[in-house]
Symmetry: C3
Subunit: 446 residues, 3 copies
């Protein structure tokens, strides 16, 4: 029987697949598509993801459907759009970058003076070389976005603004993948497919979520998984309006998967009142992932946790991210391109979330099966020669036994004894095998 | 409909009257009177206050009445008192300062050597130019107080101590004002009228309390108010012995109003176990009053909170002060005169307490009326053009909606989202008007 | 009646006997005996302690008895042991130091080369002049321990290892002393008698425990005491296997008495989940003992609290120590001799634990008997002349009255008001005598 000392040498007990290169390729394929809340770009994106996740279904919610306080908007599609200058030169062309057109722009075909045009232009004085990402979902507008430096150089004269777009009845589409586990308690993963040619925020979320879904589907899982590819805000609201009761009954933890593609840092944003299994597992995963992380407050929220954690919904949903939206310089501009994300960055985002899911899967409450310390020596779990140093070798095993009092789950146990959570689970598994620990039924799900 | 961005510019949503000059004038009028636990000086003070507060009644508790563990003392009055030196020069004269005579001195008319006299003299070596404030309420004594510098210069010889005072059966008097609100739950304000010619401690309390009472009486109030002008300690004990059960049933918060007249700092002293509505509203008022404050412990107590917060009484009573008794150099000496207080100081003391009362009046528990964020845009509450910066503009409104989960009252909500409590209440009121928030019945009173 | 101001001058209200010299003498007498888990050295030690504690009984648990997960081992005795070098010189002799022989060495009489011998030698490269303390209780081995400097100088050649020992059926012995108090709730003191010639760890524990037992037996006690002199680990497991239910029912607090003999520092190691009466009284005792202390976590445990605090046993047991095992340089080597401990060190260890026991004996929950402050003046408890300074003099008394609200025991009261716990108890006793405080029945035992 192997002595425990050998366990201590392998603290990374979970083997995660290498997905970084694949995920980066998927992101590159999807980058040019013109995603928005609705429209053909979303459907193309979902079709691509369906090839990776054949079990995923694509759902439709018709324009005009009431979803809680909201109404599903018209579907937006844009065939082409150009802003032509006085000399006939193309100032901005949708074919070059879909960021040039304000999201949900109504059709226009109009000549204006530069002065009249200015009200329809958007640029960033602080980032003069970036095209900003601007949308106007709920008020009918049109507009062009361009680098501030280019805007300043525009000559007086007559401009021709032409946007060949449709705002018409249609549907809001989203992808949904359900993976059945051993029980109906479930974990939610939610990411969004409404951002056009932007990489970290947001193609990293869909591709890492696809990788997570493939990894989850490949093994046997204790919990079921509900995995959503939705447009942000209106998508989660629409989805919740259809599934809220069931989700409230079943969801033990969830993560919004967003901004998981660059390699600069890790971030954590807890649920509204913190302390849920998603918060605890997420923090434990990042703690032992070993790279440190930036700790945000729910006050810093900005994605679909706004809906999942809203009063009346109250799902246990947190976010594990790399560089969080709103905090990195390229955010919501044309600079957030494929150079911001990397295979390493995507792999790190994948691993951090996968570890949190692993922790949730393994989180149980443990109690020692007998009073007093068991005699580990006769089971080959304890060095038989007591010297000044030998006690340290089995310290972690003894700590697990000492603190497994039926009140602590894996996360609390690892946290209390200050031991790597993956090593702690290995030791727990071995002690349970020897009958020295018992799992408390239904423990560890909250 | 006004966009929310305009709300953010007016964070000071309560308009408080200017009372500083009036209050200073009242203090100047009352300064010369010889107040004590009992006696004519107290009655003259209460008569003056009655002119400001016609609804106030003056109550009497006869000498000898048992009040819990105590007995109401004899009434003390002093007509004149002089200490004459060997050369016939007046060393100390009650007519010059009522601090020259030890409070509750028995009558005396006696010649003594300087040596014999010393046991009856009180002075402060550390503050050689100040007359100390000394009393002997519960043991019959007589004495004179004088500047230490003057005491050191006293020549040997025969001194004539003459105090023409009475200690006779009479009554303990206090003023009581009850302001009826929409419900019988009530707020207590208690100040004391037993200090002779001393300004910050304590004429500031009575005059600021008078101003608060006039302000409270002028508007419609949710809660009822019980406002007391009493002699310290024996007054609150006597009052509690008559009204304890009713006060325990009704009182949701209270403040001892003391030391609210100088302009040097703000101070807060919580109730014994802290955490009551008085503590929470007091701290919130000072936090957003914006001048900072010194945080004391109940261990630093020294006024009638000693009775209100005593075991068996346990009322939720705190103190919002300017420079606290015992902490400023002029305290309990003749230096605590009208130069220590100022219209600005009194105004500040008034405003800090008025804001706490405003917070108590507006403190309710809120919950969002629907799952997910409401669509603010169609109500004119949200900018319709989404840009990199626009989200910040409605952050506070979104935070109010996100955290209004039926567990937080106004104070907790403002504290959690880190937003000015007066702005928070303005936003709450607007959201409630639109039906987006509901108040939880009976919430926010504890 | 004495004014309270005189109380304040004597804050050390418990008088403890001087035991340091006696305890040091007992340790010197016991030092040469070869203690181990079992065997004649343990019995001789218990016989010596029985002379000090005539009421103590010596109990036996036969070899082979099942005690929870363990089996009582064979009894070990060693008559003589020598390691002889190639030239006939004695390398190590049990007669010189019983540390030279690995504890529980099986008999051996064998010639070996130096190379063969090395596997049976133990030394400490970092402490080249110390003989290490090594045992092999649960695997049959033999070995010699010696200073590393001496080991390095060993010449090649044939060595003669001879250990004349027995490992035979017998018994595990321990001493047990029960002192009956006014009630059957009891306090546990547990120390260990299995270490050979080692002074701080561990003869200081047995001799200080003997002194504590004599002090406890000499007076009237509220609680009963269970005092154990046992071999470490197997002794506490064996004892618990016989008495667990009764101990769980009765034990309100307990201390493992270990490492209480040197004069370098004080240390505290709490029970597993902290917060028990043993933890609170132990910390309070050290806080007001006035020498500061090192605060350890239960993660730093290493003695019989491992059993007493194990899940399923869960007794409220902490450790009050001088220099903790494992933290001082002489630990578990021949350097931990009688020069490490001292009469002053033992006296300090005794006093710290005695004070914790005194606090437990006096710990009650108090409540004031009437609303509002009582009038201390007419009881001679309050200065009758109120001056700027006089209030401070009765501050502690007023604080006791203010915070005695029926929720705080002596420990919590002293802690909350920041006053010496021994002075606090003196004041409580006086106020209770005057009927101003009442003890809450059954309060203060948890």
């Amino acid at each position: 029987m192997k002595p425990v000392t050998e366990v201590e040498e392998r603290s990374d007990v979970i083997t995660l697949p290498r997905i970084g290169e694949d995920a980066y390729r998927w992101a590159s394929d999807l980058f040019p598509l013109c995603r928005s809340l609705t429209g053909p770009g979303v459907r193309e994106t979902l079709r691509y993801l369906q090839e990776l996740l054949p079990a995923m279904t694509v759902e439709s919610v018709p324009t005009g459907t009431k979803v809680f306080d909201w109404t599903v908007p018209k579907e937006w599609s844009v065939r082409s759009a150009t802003l032509t200058g006085p000399d006939g030169d193309i100032v901005a062309d949708f074919a070059t970058s879909n960021l040039h057109v304000v999201g949900y722009s109504v059709p226009v075909d109009r000549k204006l003076t530069l002065g009249q045009l200015q009200a329809h232009l958007h640029s960033l004085p602080d980032q003069p070389d970036a095209i900003p990402y601007v949308t106007s979902y709920y008020k009918e507008r049109w507009g062009f976005c361009l680098p501030h430096r280019q805007r300043l150089a525009l000559k007086p004269g007559t401009y021709h603004a032409r946007i060949d777009s449709d705002l018409a009845d249609g549907a809001l589409n989203y992808g949904e993948l359900r993976i059945a586990g051993e029980c109906t308690d479930e974990v939610l993963l939610s990411t969004y497919v409404c951002h056009p040619s932007l990489a970290n925020n947001e193609l990293s979320g869909p591709v890492v979520t696809a990788a997570l879904a493939r990894w989850l589907a490949a093994g046997r899982r204790r919990y079921s998984y509900r995995i959503l590819f939705i447009p942000e805000t209106i998508g989660s609201i629409a989805y919740l309006s259809r599934h809220l009761d069931e989700m409230k009954r079943r969801t033990i933890a969830g993560y919004v998967v967003t901004c998981v593609g660059d390699d600069r840092t890790y971030s954590f944003l807890p649920s509204r009142n913190d302390g849920t299994l998603a918060d605890r597992a997420g923090r434990a995963a990042l703690a032992w992932h070993g790279r440190g992380h930036v700790a945000y407050s729910f006050l810093d929220r900005g994605s679909d946790e706004r809906q999942y954690c809203s009063p009346g919904v109250d799902l246990p949903v947190a976010s594990i991210m790399r560089s969080k939206y709103g905090t990195y310089p390229e955010y919501h501009t044309s600079l957030d391109d494929l150079s911001v994300i990397s295979p390493e960055g995507l792999q790190g985002g994948f691993e951090a979330i996968a570890k949190a899911l692993w922790i949730i899967e393994h989180n149980e409450v443990w109690r020692a099966t007998m009073p007093c310390e068991p005699q580990l020596g006769r089971r080959g779990l304890y060095p038989t020669l007591s010297t000044k140093d030998s006690y340290e070798q089995v310290r972690t095993m003894m700590d697990v036994l000492a603190y497994a009092d039926g009140t602590r789950d894996l996360i609390a146990l690892s946290d209390r004894i200050g031991a790597d959570i993956f090593l702690t689970q290995t030791i727990i598994a071995r002690l349970a095998e020897y009958g020295l620990l018992d799992a408390v039924p239904e423990g560890g799900r909250a």
